[in-house]
Symmetry: C2
Subunit: 96 residues, 2 copies
Amino acid sequence: MIARLDEEERALALRDLPEWTPVQEPEGIRRLFIFKDFVGAFGFMTKVALLAERADHHPEWSNVYNRVDITLTTHDAGGLSRRDIDLATQIDAIYS
Amino acid sequence: MIARLDEEERALALRDLPEWTPVQEPEGIRRLFIFKDFVGAFGFMTKVALLAERADHHPEWSNVYNRVDITLTTHDAGGLSRRDIDLATQIDAIYS
């Protein structure tokens, strides 16, 4: 069972993820990624998909041409968990 | 310049795409695809991405674990065009 982060843990974790915005319903974090074109966007999504599958933790995401909108939340925890923070950190590393 | 289908063309084309639902804003068509798991869903998305790139016509789509929600519309035409019908037909072929 993975635990939902409490307010303090959450604030601390998000300090290192300045590009991610906290969202509600579901409680989680969200970031928009922009690329040159669809090939850039879908190439990025493929890398994220492999990481997500390895972590057995999957994003809620959408794509329109060169834009990828990702929300991370942990349904089993009823909110934001360490898994989301870890996946967001890996996604940022791919993007940078 | 690609033309928006008129009402008659649209009705005729959609007869062969019974699983797709007409939507407005943007005018287009939409279908939800369900798979066993994320690997199934993302494998399908990868095939669709390759077809879309080849056709230079891209879906608006979202994915949550085993579900893929696809909307097709042609911005340049201001609505549904032959390109959407062709891509939907190819997507159905992949899914079946």
